[in-house]
């Protein structure tokens, strides 16, 4: 297991480097001249030239790429052209906020969504099941920023129970997490429901029931472990959606996280800031996926046995 983790972490390095190259290259082709943006429209050609010279914007693509990769390997993402601060410092300061939202979203999506889906499956065709199904369908169909605005109106403007925007205590994160989490909740609940239904109907569960095993035991010991495998796989791919969602949600709630930093950097053509944000998010996301894979291995005995070389666990008959 340890070797597998190490291998996966090492594998992240070339991937992230390629991400860096890709993003750098894409940003290289983004129209818009940083010097012009920073200096304003009436800057003289000489001033523009001087600015580009100082900030190394004149060097050929390959030289700029090389020096960029060199500095990010040292953990330096360069200077923000707009704020003239260190991108690394900015991102580190903003990371916790994005992380809290992402984590909260995952909790709503996985820790709340999955049990609800399973419960709906167990109670298939009851009112509760229908309600969960309909709720999750609606949840999956709403644009998150729209939901966010609705939540603000209800909880901040009408009920005065939660702050509408910004950062501060934990209460500031409730609405953003809720707005961003509903989609994850919806898709996980739906998925958990259908995988559970599939497993519940499988032969070994029927057999277990036939053998007179208690319903509780059937669900917890026979059905659940098998249903969890596809659930975890897809929960993993949900992370992407959830982290991606924070990009938009941070703007709605004026939360100075990586997402808001990046969107404003894009509109300011603050290349270093954009590249740094993307790489940061890629790191965050890759780590999430690693955890998912480990979890996956932990739940799926077949995969676990691959790493550990232990003998296969007895299959349900």
């Amino acid at each position: 297991m340890g070797r597998y983790i190490l291998k996966r972490i090492l594998w992240m390095i070339p991937i992230l480097l390629t991400v860096a190259i890709l993003v750098f290259t894409l940003m290289y082709f983004v129209p818009g001249d940083t010097a012009q943006i920073v200096l304003g429209s009436s800057a003289t050609p000489e001033q523009l030239e001087q600015y580009r010279e100082i900030h190394g914007l004149n060097a050929p693509y390959i030289v700029r790429l090389g020096s960029y990769l060199g500095s990010i390997l040292h953990g330096d993402f360069g200077m923000s052209y707009i704020y003239s601060t260190s991108v690394t410092a900015d991102l580190l300061a903003r990371l916790p906020r994005t992380f809290i939202i992402a984590l909260g979203t995952v909790i709503i999506g996985v820790i709340v969504g999955v049990p609800f889906g399973i419960w709906a499956a167990i109670k298939q065709d009851t009112i509760a099941d229908r309600l969960i199904l309909v709720t999750s369908l609606i949840g999956a169909s709403m644009p998150s920023f729209w939901l966010g605005l609705m939540l603000v109106i209800l909880f901040a403007l009408k009920l005065h129970v939660l702050p509408a925007f910004g950062i501060g205590g934990p209460q500031y994160y409730i609405l953003p997490i809720l707005a961003n989490g509903v989609a994850g909740f919806a898709s996980n609940a739906r998925l958990a429901r259908s995988s559970m239904l599939e497993v519940v109907r499988s032969d070994y569960v029927t057999t277990a029931r036939a053998k007179g095993v208690s319903e509780r035991k059937v669900i917890l010991e026979h059905a659940l472990p098998n249903a969890l495998i596809p659930i975890i796989t897809s929960a993993g791919s949900c992370f992407g959606m959830m982290i991606g969602g924070t990009m938009v949600i941070e703007s709605v709630f004026s939360i100075p996280g990586i997402g808001m930093y990046m969107t404003s950097a894009i509109s300011n053509r603050d290349y270093n800031a954009v590249q740094g944000s993307v790489i940061f998010i890629a790191i965050l996301f890759s780590l999430c996926m690693l955890i998912v894979d480990l979890l996956y291995a932990f739940v799926d005995p077949r995969i676990k046995s691959q790493y550990e070389g232990k003998k296969r666990r007895k299959k349900h008959e």
């Binding site: 943006i37 001087q50 260190s86 309600l131 603000v152 925007f165 910004g166 950062i167």
Partner: protein, 541 residues
Amino acid sequence: MKKRMTKILAIGLIAAMGTMLLAGCGNSTGDKGSDTQAKSSGSTSASDVITIGVDSDWNDISPFGTMSTTRTAVKYIFYEYLAVRKDFGAELEDMELQCAKEIKKVDDLTYDITMYDYIKDSEGNEITADDYAWAAMAMKDAGNYEKLNSYLESVTAVDDYTVEIKLSDNPLGTIEYVLNIVPVISKTAYEASGDKMASKPVATAAYKVEEMVPGSTLTLVKNEDYWQTDESLVSAVSKQNIDKIVYKVVTESTQMSTALQTGDIDMAQYMDTTAINTFYADGEAVSGYQVEELNSNLMFSVLPNMSSDSILSESRELREAIFYAIDAESCVQAACGGYGSTLSAMANPLSADYDETWNDGDYYSYDVDKAKEKLEKSGVDVSGKKLKILTMPAMNLDKVAEVIQAELAEIGIDSEIVSVEDALYQTYKLDSTQFDLILDIKGTDDFVTFPWSLLFDNRSFDGETANFIVDDTLQTKLETALSPDTHSQETVDDFENYLEENAYCYGLYTKSLYIVAKEGKISKFDFLQGSYVLPNCSEYN
């Protein structure tokens, strides 16, 4: 047990989601401001703190950083200058002296300024003439301020506390600009900061920066060691009427409105006109709020591309046809819900040298028939051509473009909108192949000539104007209007008339700005340049 719990949870969640959907519907237009009394009573513990929501980011608070509206609104609270233009367009004798004890005009281009000999920053660094001379040149070299580049020749320290400012040319308002823009800071502190004071400037003014979260909050606290201890000499910009000032960036106008209603902020600078109805009705503040209506120093205009890349350069009549087809009134409506006024010239009426007689003339008054006539007369075949309108989403400029597009369609001119973010807009507007019509925003500092110099001075654009006009007469007339010796009502008039004669541009409208505060906190607002609240100088209950 467990089942019941989950059931309750499920029902709760569903109920929550249901209410959410209802929240949107239940909020009809009828209750504008009706829920104002239900707000958390303003008894927040710290009455010595004021929290101000600002509608855009300050971007960069370092001493030589790039200009932005919100930066201007905050920087005077923690940086001090030799002298500050507190009132809009103040001339040298009306400026508020801060670090300057005395300003002496030696000749047309040279000024000697004596500074106080006990200036120090919040970290105790003493500041001398050398620091100022260095700061001025460093700011010029940073290149973010084109006016310094064009007109500031040199700043040298004559002795420990005297600097000599030399200008290369002195068009109207230049020395005022220099004094007002170069902060007095300590070179030692600047170099010690390691990041050009980007994250934590060392203050020289009455307040210092306690914390700055880029794009989110800026917390300023009273500087207990403020250098100007002689109260009679403290400038009208440097008062310390409150202990702590917190700026919060709130870019969503809905959020700004909500935040003010819930008490998250005490004051909004500015409340967007889309949300102003909640606080301001029939020219009066809704009970529970204070509203200050200000005239913006901005001027919104539309400029035709005059290079050979655009058919608009082919005929004056065609350009006039377009201007007559545009209803400026609709533009005001679209841009700021009618909270603004149309212009009668390529000038903001706020400017000191604005000619009131312009208001009486016919300035492209909306007339579809006349527009069609002009179009026909121009002889330019516009069928099958698609004009490109360059605009940006900021300040609803894209809405204005939508209005113009629809109005041009009325006279048979087809157009498409190119709406790009600010950064790309700055790049595209220099490229004559990217647009036929451009929507432009210009602020004025003092005179009508200021935006003119930014748009039409061909010395700034390689022999062309911002919209690619090559016209020597225009340039001569502009230079005559700009020079302090020849600047007069006649020369200004002459230039404006020439613009109209050639249909080089169309000044559309200016908007009103609204500062909204919770009632009861502030007894008297104090403003900088007529548009930014000085929270440290305003008076509190």
